[in-house]
């Protein structure tokens, strides 16, 4: 029986500083592989070994289109990053960053050292919170039931009015979203506005008018939640959804 030459690589979950490795005990990497820490200067990289047959460039393209595979890897990735965030300052990696070996990992830390140090300082002791704002979709206009035949011109006129109504509602939403975002921005360390999410992906019919990420010092968590609560009270026609605390994905992930 021939032994297959499995090519292996190092999957990078995150960089860290001041990592308390004991707190990573019991946390597994991908496919049950143990987590390992590669150190260089005052920084650490949290990695695990993976098969390049699964994670190498060839297969990767297909896998990235496969929702099941994506979900599985993303959740493990998040669980690891979350554990690291509880054990030190963390700069998460994007999904599927592979280095050939530990020498390569250290090399990466070395070449990214200034940006990494800066990013870690930026997020140390801070957490990401997601604030999404939804506006209720107006009821769909009634279609023609009474009074047909309607003249063609009248039909188009009605459609124009509906379109104008949608546009003005849209403008109002932009104003509301901006106001909420500015209020939140004043009470946090950093912000990032993300694209609103496709309703088919969120499973919600409402219109998402704001998808914001906010970096909040841990000791200011209660104050931040109070601000969000207050905004919810002030905007009864909107629904505000707060999620977190999360690792600082939107604030420390290097491109």
């Amino acid at each position: 029986m021939t032994e297959s030459q499995l090519e292996r690589g190092r999957y990078l979950f995150a960089f860290a500083r001041g990592l308390d490795q004991a707190r990573l005990e019991g946390v597994l990497g991908l496919r049950g592989a143990p987590l390992e820490v590669v150190e260089h200067r005052d920084l650490q990289a949290v990695v695990c070994s993976v098969d390049l047959e699964e994670f190498g460039e060839a297969q990767l393209k297909e896998h990235l289109e496969d929702m099941e595979w994506l979900e599985d890897v993303a959740r493990t990735h998040h669980d690891v990053v979350h554990a690291v965030s509880e054990a030190g300052a963390v700069a998460p990696m994007r999904l599927v960053t592979i280095c050939s070996d530990d020498v390569s990992v250290r090399g990466r830390i070395e070449s990214l050292y200034p940006q990494l140090s800066e990013a870690l300082s930026r997020v140390e002791g801070r957490r990401e919170w997601s604030v999404k704002v939804y506006a209720t979709r107006p009821a769909p206009p009634e279609t023609v039931d009474a009074g047909r035949p309607v003249s063609g011109a009248a039909y188009l006129q009605r459609k124009r009015e509906q379109a104008a109504q949608r546009r003005s509602t849209g403008d109002e939403h932009l104003r509301e979203a901006d106001e909420i975002h500015q209020t939140l921005a004043r009470s946090v360390v950093a912000t990032r506005v993300l694209q609103p999410q496709d309703p088919r992906l969120t499973g919600r019919a409402d219109t998402m008018i704001l998808n914001g990420a906010y970096l909040v010092p841990m000791e200011e968590t209660d104050g931040f939640r109070a601000v969000v609560s207050r905004l919810a009270e002030l905007n009864p026609t909107l629904e505000i959804e707060l999620n977190g605390p999360w690792p600082p994905y939107s604030f420390a992930t290097l491109e």
């Binding site: 289109e65 929702m67 023609v144 063609g152 009248a154 039909y155 188009l156 694209q195 496709d198």
Partner: protein
């Protein structure tokens, strides 16, 4: 702001011998509805641009209102709502809108 292309995921429509008819019908209805909405949006734009005669506007409106009725009829016969058809001109609209 640096350009940030978005990852596009293709939706897979899984069917089997028992469901394939209804699934394909839903898909066809979805495409018809998409085309209908695009026609209507484009007609409105042309009307607003003001380069159509009164007769053309009347004929367009009449045709589109009949199309809307026919669509409502088809949907109700198969007990489908617009949400069921999964139409969201959002991302697609962006791909199709004029520069």
């Amino acid at each position: 702001m640096a350009e940030n292309p978005r990852r596009l995921l293709t939706q897979r429509l899984e069917t089997d011998p028992d469901s394939v008819e209804r699934d394909l019908f839903k898909l066809v209805l979805t495409i018809i509805e998409l085309v209908r909405q695009l026609m209507e949006a484009q007609a409105l734009r042309r009307v607003e641009e003001g380069d159509l005669t009164d007769d053309q506007v009347e004929a367009l409106g009449l045709g589109l209102s009949r199309l809307e009725e026919a669509m409502e009829d088809l949907k109700s016969r198969y007990d489908l709502t617009t949400e069921d058809l999964n139409i969201d001109l959002g991302p697609l609209g962006t791909l199709l809108s004029e520069p």
